[in-house]
């Protein structure tokens, strides 16, 4: 096949309608062609929409069980799910911080087939990023004063997931702090802006610590110069 013609196969590939023998050549081409990869992603989204158009019967309940049994047989659950609840001091509002195995819930992150694709995609990527950052059990704690969550694992590694944080004013930056026994230590700076952002803290978060955010001069400072505008309850 002429090289130019291979780009024309993208739509058929998205529909799984390539002729036998063409799939391999096209997939090989995909590895080297950014344009086709980008185009394929868009066309596959449209093709997947076609799945919604057909009505049909409900699957038998046994199908679900069979799938889950087979999956379990191939790979048992590596990280056990447990549920350990910790209740926040009333001063921060009665929101429960739930340590729930490897599950992380951050607001409403369900992705929509037809929602603003870019925004939903970025939210979803951020959430996946956070999960990938941590191994083992994590704890999630709401950030009061900003729309977001602090995620901390058992070793104290932490990340802030913040949604819709306005960009820091010119000449200023956001700074995170880990506060232990009344003493604040710097834990990273960031600019804000964007829909959702994930920020690893540059120092561990021990039990009993509080994480807070302030606005500081560009470059960050060693001690907070302003009152935190957001903070978490004690971990």
């Amino acid at each position: 096949m002429e090289p130019e013609a291979i780009h024309e196969l993208t739509a058929a590939y998205a529909l799984n309608a390539l002729d036998p023998g063409e799939e391999e050549a096209y997939e090989e081409h995909l590895r080297r062609c950014d344009h086709c990869r980008a185009e394929l992603a868009e066309l596959q989204d449209a093709a997947a929409a076609l799945a919604f158009a057909a009505e049909g019967p409900a699957p038998p309940p046994a199908l679900r069980e069979r799938i889950l049994e087979r999956a379990a047989a191939e790979r048992p659950n590596v990280v056990p799910l447990t549920s350990r609840r910790r209740w926040v001091a009333p001063a921060f509002g009665a929101v429960a911080a739930v340590a729930a195995g490897v599950a992380i819930g951050i607001g409403v992150w369900a992705s929509s087939l037809h929602g603003s694709l870019d925004t939903q995609k970025r939210l979803a990527e951020s959430q996946a990023q956070v999960i990938a950052l941590f191994s083992g059990r994590v704890q999630q704690v709401p950030v009061e004063g900003a729309d977001g969550t602090l995620v901390v694992d058992r070793k104290g590694a932490g990340a802030l997931v913040l949604s819709g944080l306005a960009p820091a004013p010119a000449g200023k930056t956001y700074e995170a702090w880990v506060i232990v026994g009344g003493e604040a230590r710097p834990a990273g700076t960031f600019e804000g802006g964007g829909d959702t952002s994930v920020h690893r803290l540059t120092r561990p978060v021990p039990p009993g610590a509080v994480v807070a955010l302030t606005v500081e001069p560009d470059g960050g400072v060693e001690q907070p110069t302003t009152t935190p505008f957001a903070s978490t309850p004690a971990i």
């Binding site: 993208t10 529909l15 929409a49 799945a51 049909g56 999956a71 659950n77 369900a110 990527e125 999960i131």
Partner: protein, 197 residues
């Protein structure tokens, strides 16, 4: 327990599946299992074959989740593409009689069973967009997608040059995408979806 994951994104669930999280797989099935089965049944018109296709697809999700890249595509697209591919492979291998059009009636045991509002809404939206496509583009998409025909089979069946079929497929998908994005702009902020099964 599964309800703890109800507000996670599909992509987050796939990331959890990489870590062998059964509950995450179950949640993905609860979201897309019915849709997957509908699609497979539409293509295969046989309950046992449709179940096979769905089972293989979700096991493929379980086994290859680490290859899914959220920055490249949506998890729902990935899952539905896996289902579609398996169903099409089966319909060709089993030489089943192929679906002709979307409107073709089928022997539905219980069409109306507990279909969620979300699923119904999405279906109506896509059906409305499909109706707005030029007939030839819609025909090419439906025959390829639900009938499992290859582009050459389509060319022969419709008595058209292969190039024409390729153009219709491309234009149809591109236009469908545009129409769905237009519809999205008008919609309200998203609310948590319920399971589809």
């Amino acid at each position: 327990m599964a309800k703890d994951l109800a507000h996670l994104s599909d992509e987050a669930l796939v990331a959890l599946v990489v870590r062998s999280d059964h509950v995450a797989l179950a949640e993905l099935y609860d979201r897309y299992g019915r849709l997957a089965y509908n699609l497979a049944y539409r293509i295969l018109r046989d309950q046992a074959l449709a179940e096979d296709a769905v089972q293989e697809a979700f096991l493929a999700v379980w086994r290859s989740a680490q290859r899914f890249l959220p920055e490249r595509s949506k998890a729902s697209t990935w899952i539905l593409t896996l289902v579609h591919r398996r169903a099409v492979d089966l319909v060709r291998r089993e030489e089943r009689r192929r679906a002709d059009t979307l409107d073709e009636s089928y022997e539905a045991a219980d069409r109306s069973t507990e279909e969620t509002a979300w699923l119904r809404l999405e279906r109506e939206r896509v059906q409305a967009a499909l109706r707005r496509l030029p007939d030839q583009q819609r025909e090419a998409l439906e025959l390829a997608y639900y009938g499992g025909f290859t582009q050459s089979e389509l060319a022969e069946r419709l008595g058209q040059p292969l190039g024409t079929i390729k153009s219709r497929m491309f234009a149809g998908l591109a236009r469908l995408r545009e129409l769905l994005q237009e519809a999205a702009v008008e919609e309200h902020p998203w609310s948590p979806r319920q399971s589809t099964s």
